[in-house]
């Protein structure tokens, strides 16, 4: 490939991703689907920029997966693992085991050799870490019970890939072997060694990674860091990963296993975050390239030849995976709504299936025709995931919510008589729980509404009176006793929901006092417009308290610093009110970001007045001294 052709290729890949990924993100489909679409677009099916090299490209781009495992390894501090042990081993282990057994069984029943069936079962049991974690984070549900459970399962799967890769060569069926590819993947020279020598070499390599990672790498990084050249650090980090990959391949082990191992070894080192931020962009780009390659290698002719077979497989596969997850979720006491998010989010097949499938092709475990069909199935199942999320959000969950809240109503009717709490707290996360505990410490009873059903169960066990439900809905509020309560504390995370709730309360419970949390100035304005008197900006007190401490550390007297903060607070609240009036008059803002900048500009300009904020003149001697002087002069 001459230089120009290389540049042209690079341009095609980059251009395709730059166009498709933001587009896919805009359509709420996630970046992975964007890369896949970009691959399809430039692949043989549409624009034909890349043809047969899609597969070889995939091989080089698999290095992105290797880097991803290195990063996952870096994240795996023992403490984190220990905290999640039950979910990882229990949910993850069961998921991989049960799903592989079922899928293998189906494949075997369909007439494939047992080795192929087993390999397919293991490959298809995995879900897509890249796709799911990104989508959960984008939807803001990564911290819910469902999100955490999904993470635990994905973590187990990612770790399980490594023994799987080690296990696959044992499944090789000699008749299917693909000689050139096999020699390409496993180092040639090692084959010529005797068995015990091979074992020795492999053990030595692993030991080298562990010992080297612990004792050799940190001093090297220290040395490189002392050069103060950032790119040298990046180069060293890359060298580390590439070097381990080469070492592993040359002794016939999976590069992914090696880098993962070194990641874990380095998880507690002081260079952890530096390494992460250096490798991250390479991983991102290479993974992107990997997804492009996947997209480009989807064989559309094949899909057109067997549309029913392939789509049937996709649906059956996702159904089986989802049902297994649903049962596991139930066994681990996830509430039905969380369980539905959990099981549907993990029902696709992941990027590691590509790795395992192409590996099984080169190792001669699964026949080429089957691998091609399965590759298409995997790619389609990934493409369907964002759509599954969408359907979940719009159709399934609202339906489930309704059923759950009907239950709430029934329970409510059962215990209306026994107590009527004066306070309702909507949202019992990190904000609401402090208020709730504070009130409880003073013997004030509160009815709590929360949207996370597992948190609800937990709090119920702790003796709180908690309901699951969307607190912005009239029927839920009624069930929670809004008609009799004195006040409602609106402490949910979601600004949009808070506003909806304010509107519901204004309409149906006009006598209920509202104390509302607000996150941004934007929120505060919206709430002011909605007529809320008690607005609590979640950061102002904390940041001012921090400011007070900063002043104190700079040598100011504690009491003066504290009074200055109080003055500033009062001033800022007033400014907010003033600006909110101005804001209502000029509605024509171009976009949110611009609006924020203008806003900030106005605030900072107004702050110049703050320099002249009223000092405590009663404690000031200046005018007394001036007075004395005048008297003396007379």
């Amino acid at each position: 490939m001459d230089n120009n052709a290389f540049l042209f290729q690079a341009m095609v890949y980059l251009a395709a991703s730059v166009i498709m990924v933001p587009l896919a993100k805009r359509l709420a489909l996630g970046s992975v689907l964007g890369y896949l679409l970009a691959g399809i677009l430039i692949g043989p099916a549409v624009l034909k920029f890349i043809g047969g090299e899609g597969e070889s490209l995939m091989h080089s781009a698999e290095f992105g997966v290797v880097m991803m495992l290195f990063l996952i390894g870096l994240e795996l501090e023992p403490a984190v693992l220990w905290r999640l042990r039950k979910a990882i081993l229990g949910m993850g282990g069961l998921q991989v085991l049960i799903t592989s057994v079922i899928i293998s069984g189906i494949a075997f029943y369909a007439g494939l050799p047992w080795q192929s069936s087993l390999a397919i079962g293991m490959a298809l049991a995995l879900s897509s870490t890249a796709l799911v974690l990104q989508t959960l984070a984008e939807k803001g549900i990564d911290k819910t019970t469902a999100g955490r459970s999904a993470f635990a399962v994905l973590l187990f799967q990612d770790i399980a890939v490594i023994p799987m890769l080690a296990f696959f060569p044992l499944l090789a069926i000699t008749g299917l072997a693909n000689p050139e590819a096999a020699s390409h993947s496993a180092g040639g020279w090692i084959e010529s060694q005797s068995a015990w020598m091979r074992t020795l070499i492999i053990t030595g390599a692993v030991a080298l990674i562990i010992v080297g990672g612990r004792y050799l790498v940190p001093p090297i990084f220290r040395l490189v860091a002392s050069t103060q050249l950032r790119e040298m650090f990046t180069a060293t980090a890359l060298l580390l990963v590439v070097g381990i990959a080469v070492l592993m391949s040359s002794v016939g082990l999976s590069p992914a296993l090696g880098t993962f191992l070194s990641g874990v070894v380095l998880a507690n080192s002081e260079y952890k975050h530096e390494l992460e931020s250096d490798i991250e962009p390479f991983k991102g780009l290479l993974l992107g390239l990997f997804f492009i390659a996947v997209g480009a290698s989807i064989n559309f002719e094949l899909i057109l030849e067997h549309p029913l077979l392939i789509f049937g497989l996709v649906l059956a596969l996702m159904f089986v995976k989802a049902v297994v997850l649903l049962i596991i979720g139930k066994a681990f006491e996830l509430r039905i709504d969380q369980n539905i998010i959990f099981s549907s989010s993990l029902s696709q097949v992941g990027e590691f299936a590509f790795v395992l499938l192409s590996f099984s092709l080169t190792e001669g475990i699964v026949a080429r025709s089957n691998v091609e069909i399965l590759m298409a199935v995997v790619a389609i199942s990934m493409s369907l995931t964002p759509i599954a999320f969408f359907l979940n959000e719009k159709i399934v969950l609202p339906f489930v919510d309704k059923r759950l809240s009907n239950n709430v109503k029934e329970q409510r009717e059962a215990d209306t008589v026994e107590e009527k709490n004066p306070v309702i707290i909507a949202g019992f996360g990190h904000f609401g729980n402090i208020i709730g505990r504070f009130l409880r410490a003073h013997g004030i009873k509160a009815t709590i509404l929360d949207i996370d059903s597992n948190r609800v169960d937990f709090l119920r066990k702790m003796g709180f009176k908690v309901y699951y439900g969307d607190a912005s809905r009239y029927d839920i509020l009624l069930a929670a006793g809004a008609a009799e309560a004195k006040m409602v504390i609106i402490a949910m995370d979601d600004a949009e929901k808070r506003l909806q709730m304010i509107e519901t309360i204004k309409k149906h419970f006009p006598d209920l006092q509202m104390l509302v949390r607000s996150s941004t100035r934007e929120d505060t304005y919206d709430q002011m417009n909605a007529g809320i008197l008690h607005i609590y900006r979640e950061t102002i007190d904390t940041s001012l308290r921090m400011g007070v401490d900063a002043l104190k550390i700079l040598g100011h007297r504690a009491y003066s610093a504290q009074r200055a903060a109080r003055t500033f607070f009062r001033y800022d609240e007033q400014k907010l009110k003033d600006l909110s009036k101005v804001r209502n008059n000029e509605k024509e803002y171009i976009n949110q970001a611009r609006e924020y900048i203008e806003e900030l500009e106005a605030i900072i300009q107004a702050d110049n007045q703050a320099l002249h904020l009223r000092k405590d003149l009663g404690w000031d001697e200046d005018s007394l001294i001036a007075d004395e002087k005048v008297k003396k002069d007379e």
Binding site: R570, L617, G618, S623
Partner: protein, 202 residues
């Protein structure tokens, strides 16, 4: 007509027996303004311009508080320190309060006898209130005799109700400007002008 401003200071109002009653008996009138300092400034963060604005709008300023360690609760001191600024309340050009009246309305556990040379508090209440009196003097403000409720721990419900009525009547009289200069000069406590049985007032 005189406008009355009551600067009320009680750090634990919910535990108070006597002040709760006194406050309930403050006449509901636009001429009497009840201003609860601990409620308004729980963090002692006194809004000086606002306080000065209130002072300017009233003629008689009453500090109503329990008598703690021979003085007022802390917030009154904070209020005095911050609000009565040099150049505004006193000193050169400080004439904002000239001609107004200051007064303390106090509750104390000690009996009237205890605040005598032979009693355990040794000095009279008026002696202890000298800082207030002198503050008033420096601001060119007339300092009225205090309204005092003695022996609060021994008072029965009926006694307290009588004191509350006494306070109410005194406030009405002050608001209506019905108390003459000689009357003020003749009394030790303002209570003397609205007599209730001696057994209670001791």
């Amino acid at each position: 007509m005189a406008k009355v401003l009551i600067l009320f200071a009680h750090p634990a109002m919910e535990k108070s027996r006597i002040h709760k009653r006194l406050v309930e008996h403050i006449p509901k009138s636009t001429d009497v303004r009840f201003h609860d300092l601990y409620e308004r400034y729980p963090d002692f963060d006194i809004d000086v311009p606002y306080e000065q604005h209130l002072l300017l709008k009233h003629d008689v300023i009453i500090f109503q508080h329990p008598f703690y360690w021979y003085s007022s609760p802390a917030i009154i001191k904070q209020w005095l320190d911050l609000v009565l600024e040099h150049g505004w309340a006193y000193g050169t050009g400080g004439r904002a309060l000239a001609g107004k009246k200051f007064m303390n309305a106090i509750s104390t556990g000690g009996s009237k006898n205890s605040y005598t040379a032979v009693g355990r508090n040794k000095f009279s209440l008026s002696t202890y209130l000298l800082p207030f009196q002198q503050t008033a003097y420096l601001c060119d403000v007339e300092y009225l005799p205090p309204f005092v409720i003695h022996g609060t721990h021994r008072l029965s419900e009926a006694d307290m109700d009588l004191h509350a009525l006494q306070y109410e009547q005194m406030l009405l009289a002050l608001g209506a400007d019905r108390i003459s200069k000689p009357e003020i000069e003749s009394c030790v406590y303002m209570n003397d002008l609205v007599p209730i049985p001696q057994a209670i007032q001791s």
